[in-house]
């Protein structure tokens, strides 16, 4: 299978890349890992007339701690997250999800930022980032505050805007990203006493999730839940943040009963389609079971137990 013809540009600096995006706008797709984009181009589901390969941009593959957040830059591969000691010590949910993304070879090229920018509703990272209340940093030559006025929590500085993930993800394959913008990094808030876990059911390694559940808990000084994150993969038209369950958990003392109640909310919030991977009822059941498991595992880690 072959994609339609396209112009290929491989800029060597961010300035050059942003100038191309500013000039060519709508016709451009950014090539980072290409592990979703290239298959879509081969199937002619995507036909960009220009590909901007950002793999030659310098200093864009860091996974590190910056002040109050963990930074994942545009060229950090899934495999880099799997191997990262910073992720292991800083963020249990990301560490637990990374080995479940695609397969080991695809992980060598595919990127976290690319996965989030692509926003396939069956992608794992968008759920993880929703549970963690991450922020997406979009850069452009001029800045695009005026394109999407009024988005809650958005911050602008020059050509950079910082967008809360729940704002960024608009709908399946649709984000707030303007064609002249590039996702430069994702920022994940750091925490003191917390833990997280990703549960994924798949038919085989490399398959999309039949069901995925991302959970994150933080404990306050009284051992109550100070912050909770819960998001679901592959059981709704987009990655689904279950805010009602998060609100239920916050302020409470963690218990199996509480987690079962949150799982019930998640079960009711999702709307899976019955398909070759399982019936809708089966998937709802798995959402229930996985939510309880992921919350229990998150708690164990938050309490300082082994993961």
């Amino acid at each position: 299978m072959y994609p339609a013809k396209f112009d290929y540009l491989a800029p060597e600096s961010m300035g050059e890349a942003l100038a191309i995006l500013a000039e060519r706008g709508d016709e451009v797709k950014i090539l980072a890992g290409g592990q979703s984009l290239i298959p879509m181009m081969k199937l002619r589901l995507a036909r960009p007339s220009t590909l901007v390969d950002i793999n030659r941009l310098p200093d864009l593959d860091a996974i590190d701690v910056q002040n109050s957040h963990l930074r994942v830059q545009a060229l950090a591969r899934h495999a880099d997250v799997v191997r990262s000691d910073v992720v292991k010590s800083e963020n249990a949910l990301m560490a637990s999800a990374a080995p479940w993304v695609a397969d080991p070879i695809v992980r060598n090229l595919g990127t976290v930022c690319g996965s989030v920018a692509h926003h396939d509703p069956e992608g794992d990272w968008a759920s993880v980032m929703l549970a963690l209340d991450a922020e997406v940093v979009a850069v452009s030559k001029e800045g695009h505050a005026h394109f999407h006025p009024g988005a809650d929590g958005e911050r602008h500085t020059g050509g950079t805007r910082v967008i809360p993930i729940n704002q960024f993800l608009v709908d399946m394959f649709t984000t707030l990203l303007h064609p002249s913008e590039l996702v430069a990094e994702i920022r994940v808030p750091r925490y003191e006493r917390g833990g997280g876990n990703y549960q994924k059911l798949e038919r085989k390694i490399g398959d999309y999730a039949t069901v995925g559940v991302a959970a994150h808990l933080e404990l306050d000084g009284d051992d109550r839940i100070g912050k909770a994150g819960l998001a679901l993969t592959s059981v709704y038209a987009s990655n689904l943040k279950v805010r009602e369950a998060e609100d239920l958990l916050v302020g409470e003392s963690p218990s199996d009963e509480l987690f079962a109640e949150a799982a019930q909310i998640a079960r009711n919030a999702c709307d899976p389609a019955g398909d070759v991977r399982g019936s809708a009822d089966f998937k709802r059941h798995i959402v229930d079971v996985f939510t309880r498991r992921a919350l229990a595992e998150s708690l164990t880690i938050a309490q300082g137990g082994a993961s």
């Binding site: 290929y8 397969d103 070879i105």
Partner: protein, 158 residues
């Protein structure tokens, strides 16, 4: 577009369309047909080659992306006319039946050994989990890769 890349230690220059897939460039332009095409949809892994030492599925990489970089295919495993330890091990331990997935399995195995000189059975199964063997000969593939790891470390210490 003009690209220059090193394949199995030899530099090649070619004028290609940007949409040319790396796997087709390797097979049709360079006539290195040891790299196979299976699913053509990033699932089966038979088109795996090493890009600067890292396994990638060459049906999902454009050849222009490899400009200035280095590729190893199965034809590049042999050194000075001698089979590499991974090739000897697949031969010795019957690591193949039909042979279609074998080039990719050996490349993934050699990349694993380069990173982890003594992989456990789990490590090997994990590493090859992006590669399908439709003969389902996984037991001997795992055995072969572990034997190659052992032979490689013995070779390094003797």
């Amino acid at each position: 577009m003009n690209i220059t890349l090193v394949v199995n230690g030899t530099e090649h220059t070619a004028d290609i369309e940007p949409r040319r897939l790396l796997v087709d460039f390797i097979r049709s332009t360079l006539k290195l047909t040891g790299t196979h095409i299976g699913c053509d949809t990033t699932s089966c892994g038979v088109c795996t080659v090493l890009l600067d030492g890292t396994p990638v599925k060459s049906c999902t990489v454009f050849a222009v992306q490899a400009n200035g970089r280095s590729i190893t295919t199965v034809e590049g495993l042999k050194q000075n006319g001698q089979l590499a330890p991974i090739q000897e091990a697949f031969k010795e331990h019957h690591g193949l039946q039909c042979g279609f997935c074998t080039p990719a399995m050996m490349l993934v195995g050699s990349a694993l050994i380069a990173e982890n000189p003594s992989p456990s059975e789990d490590d090997v199964r994990w590493a090859i989990s992006g590669n399908l063997c439709r003969c389902t000969g996984y037991v001997n593939i795992v055995k072969s890769i572990r034997a190659a790891a052992e032979a490689t470390s013995q070779g390094a210490t003797s």
